[in-house]
């Protein structure tokens, strides 16, 4: 899932300080799982904003909601009738949700309330880690099910660099070396013999290098 983290409150205060009626809109999808932008975080943020502006002696209407998914039109549409009750929206969805809101609620300032970080998994409660960079052409079949693009700091495709030390990446002792993991896994699977065939340069056209991407699945199109 998409992982995000809350923006510093000061940044959000700065966005909304000139608006009187503000809607804080969460999303029940990915950002709820990573505890950055679900209903709970909406309530916390809205309360903090009220508290701050009250202390400043400024009257503001700050309302709360959370939508099933901000990245789908059907869940954003019900808000369309009410959106003019607000001067601005702080979206706690990922960058996709916030942008989709901006697309749909024309003329309404939409501010991001979270920083969208990566596609990842939950390692333990409160810890999320990156696992995929959406390169558009999955290669993990040959790397033991571990992605070197997401997990090697230099996205090397032919094995570990000379900086790998005791299982850690040269960039930080806290970052496992992706290629060390791949090596262990290939060994486990008895697939180490594949390792010595060089992997050719990757075609990055399916990645962000090819420009904004789009998937069309004709058989399900209306």
């Amino acid at each position: 899932m998409v992982k995000a983290k809350p923006k510093p409150i000061g940044e959000i205060i700065d966005y909304v300080k000139d608006f009187d009626k503000v809607l804080v809109a969460g999303c029940d999808g990915c950002v709820t799982v990573c505890e950055a932008g679900g209903l709970k975080e909406v309530q916390v943020l809205a309360s903090s904003l009220r508290l701050y502006f009250n202390k400043e002696g400024k009257r503001k209407d700050i309302e709360e909601t959370s939508l099933t998914r901000q990245c789908d039109r059907e869940y954003l549409e019900p808000l369309l009738d009410k959106i003019d009750n607000y001067d601005a929206v702080v979206s706690l969805a990922c960058g996709v949700g916030a942008q989709f809101m901006a697309e749909l609620y024309k003329g309404k300032p939409i501010f991001p309330g979270v920083d969208t970080c990566f596609i990842g998994s939950t390692q333990e409660r409160g810890v999320w880690v990156e696992r995929c960079q959406a390169c558009g052409q999955c290669i993990i079949a040959s790397t033991g099910g571990i992605c070197p693009i997401a997990r090697c700091s230099k996205r090397m495709l032919n094995g570990p660099c000379g900086g790998s030390e005791k299982g850690s990446c040269e960039v930080s002792k806290d970052t496992p070396c992706g290629w060390h993991l791949i090596y262990e896994r290939l060994k486990e699977l008895g697939q180490l013999d594949h390792f010595e065939a060089p992997t050719d340069p990757k075609d990055w056209t399916t990645s962000r290098d090819g420009g904004p991407r789009k998937i069309v699945k004709e058989d399900v199109q209306p």
């Binding site: 700091s153 230099k154 996205r155 090397m156 495709l157 032919n158 094995g159 570990p160 660099c161 000379g162 900086g163 790998s164 030390e165 005791k166 299982g167 040269e170 960039v171 070396c177 290629w179 060390h180 090596y183 262990e184 180490l192 390792f195 010595e196 065939a197 060089p198 992997t199 050719d200 340069p201 990055w204």
Partner: protein, 314 residues
């Protein structure tokens, strides 16, 4: 042995001499004379001079311009190239540019991560990795093609090198990693600086067991220690460098003003010992900001005079 390029380094290795290479780091300014002065210090004692490419991710005068300068001094440059900062378009363009100036050696590297350098907020590229850079140079040279398929009229004639670090983890993959670079087209290797001789010899044994020492010329990398502080720093702070305690202790045991001499002595002893190691085809002496010591090391290690190639333009 036939040579594949006009490289002097390749020729020296092909004739069975122990090769000696060294390196110069360009300055963090436009002062190209600094490179020329460093090269001047070592030119009679080495066969080829590597020019580093923004090493440790610190912006420096470019390797290509520095290589051209020392080529014009009649010397033999090795163009170091990292894939961190350039995509395949820029890389191939620089290779063509280098070859057009008669630069015949390239060292293919991935490069340190930019977080270590003076621009940690930079984007990195890593369009290719070091192995793919080797493949690219080989394709350009042997098939006369660019990665995109275009066939060129005049090909770059590059003797292809890469680095190997026997001291990085996971240890067991380090031989396979070299085999892979050889499969990609690598012809010479300059190793990470060696301090742990026991581990290095074990790695060499594994290299020989696979017959890789016959397929690629391995130059042992050496960096003399200036003092015990440097030894401790390298031991504790530089990823992928293995400095055993006995080296640190040996340097610590001599008075401060004698430590540099001791460092040089250790380096010379290592060369003497490695000359006996089957499969070692030469030495790559990286005297970091200490180039003036290279002639002394080469002479005292019995590697001087350097072979004079008949018929070579250099």
């Amino acid at each position: 042995m036939n040579t594949t390029t006009p490289s002097k380094l390749e020729k020296i290795l092909a004739e069975g001499h122990l090769a000696v290479t060294s390196e110069c780091g360009p300055p963090r300014s436009t002062d190209l004379d600094i490179v020329a002065e460093k090269a001047e210090l070592i030119k009679d004692h080495v066969d080829a001079i590597n020019i580093t490419d923004n090493q440790t991710s610190v912006v420096r005068l470019c390797s290509l311009a520095s290589c051209i300068r020392i080529k014009q001094m009649g010397l033999e440059p090795v163009l170091q190239m990292v894939t961190r900062d350039r995509n395949r378009i820029a890389i191939q363009s620089d290779i063509l540019g280098a070859a057009s100036f008669g630069i015949n050696n390239i060292l293919c590297l991935t490069g340190d991560h930019q977080q270590f350098g003076d621009h940690p907020s930079a984007a990195n590229v890593f369009d290719l990795d070091s192995t793919q850079l080797i493949q690219t140079v080989k394709l350009m040279r042997d098939e006369g093609k660019l990665l995109g398929g275009f066939e060129m009229k005049k090909r770059p004639e590059m003797f292809i090198g890469a680095a190997a670090n026997p001291f990085a983890d996971p240890y067991e993959i380090r031989v396979s990693r070299l085999a892979k670079k050889v499969a990609a087209g690598c012809q010479f290797i300059q190793t990470q600086c060696i301090y742990n001789m026991e581990k290095f010899k074990d790695w060499m044994k594994r290299i020989r067991d696979r017959g890789l020492h016959e397929k690629v010329a391995i130059l042992a990398g050496l960096t003399p220690m200036k003092n015990v502080g440097m030894a401790r720093y390298m031991k504790n702070r530089v990823p992928g460098i293995d400095v055993p305690d006995d080296i640190v202790e040996r340097l610590a045991a001599v008075p401060k003003e004698k430590q540099a001499d001791e460092g040089i002595k250790i380096c010379i002893e290592q060369i003497e010992e490695l000359k006996e190691e089957e499969g070692i085809k030469g030495f790559h002496i990286m005297a970091i900001e200490w180039e003036e010591k290279v002639p002394e090391i080469v002479e005292r290690a019995g590697l001087y005079p350097r072979p004079n190639l008949n018929g070579s333009q250099n």
